[in-house]
Symmetry: C2
């Protein structure tokens, strides 16, 4: 797992190891800011640039899945770095893995039908989680920055 960094000729420095640990330990799909905060608890001088740089490395070696947002910070999944469906609460911005069935069409079928060389897939379901529904007691929702 961590060996794939070595293959690229880059070192697994203490900061990078800690970042990877934070990423794998969390099921919250943390943002760069949250990762930064956490890594800083062990290496207080760590800069944001290092977090971004390291995540870039991890993306290149397929060890982290990036979930992009336009109005909010990107989020990262270090537990299941392969594309898989997510369940996203537009209220509290919680992101959960969705264990249910994969989208029906396999990449190969779509590739064959369209001529695209497919490299990735994204499937998100947006809604309001049970906790947020309970908190607002059926009323309408507040401003939201995730779709």
């Amino acid at each position: 797992m961590r060996a794939s960094l070595a293959e690229k000729g880059v070192a697994l420095t203490p900061r990078r190891a800690k970042l990877l640990e934070v990423l794998v330990a969390s099921d919250r799909h943390p943002s760069v800011g949250e990762i930064h905060e956490e890594v800083r608890r062990y290496f207080p001088s760590t800069s944001l640039a290092t977090i971004y740089n390291t995540i870039e490395l991890l993306k290149e070696t397929g060890q982290v899945l990036e979930i992009e947002f336009s109005g909010a910070a990107n989020r990262y999944d270090g537990r299941i770095p392969q594309a898989h469906p997510h369940l996203i609460c537009v209220e509290c911005e919680k992101i959960e893995d969705l264990e249910m069935v994969e989208p029906s069409e396999p990449l190969e079928a779509i590739s064959a039908a369209t001529g695209y060389r497919l490299v990735n897939r994204r499937t998100d379901y947006y809604g309001v989680c049970p906790q947020c529904q309970a908190r607002e007691g059926g009323q309408q929702q507040a401003p939201q920055s995730l779709p």
Copy 2:
């Protein structure tokens, strides 16, 4: 179609009408910048803010689908404003509608299984389109800003 704006108590001004026309006439899933450019050909003084404001109105009335990106400008689908799968070329940033089967699980099933009140869905397939594959003759790809 355009009546839904009236119901909100907002006027269908010439700029807004042109924007809607541009949106429906294009199958390219244009960005705000492209829409701006196009509207400007008819109303040269149009500001970016107006494009953003109008798109916000259209989103609220469900007349446009926003496709968000973190590293690039958002794109808009005014032809099929309901959530549907897209095929995205990571090279030339072309976006096509994918007519194939919807992801298997209906929203209701996921809603029932998870307790979420679902409001939206996103399904994207990322790859290299046939034209870009031909252009690069099998070599590796250049920098890209879409996932």
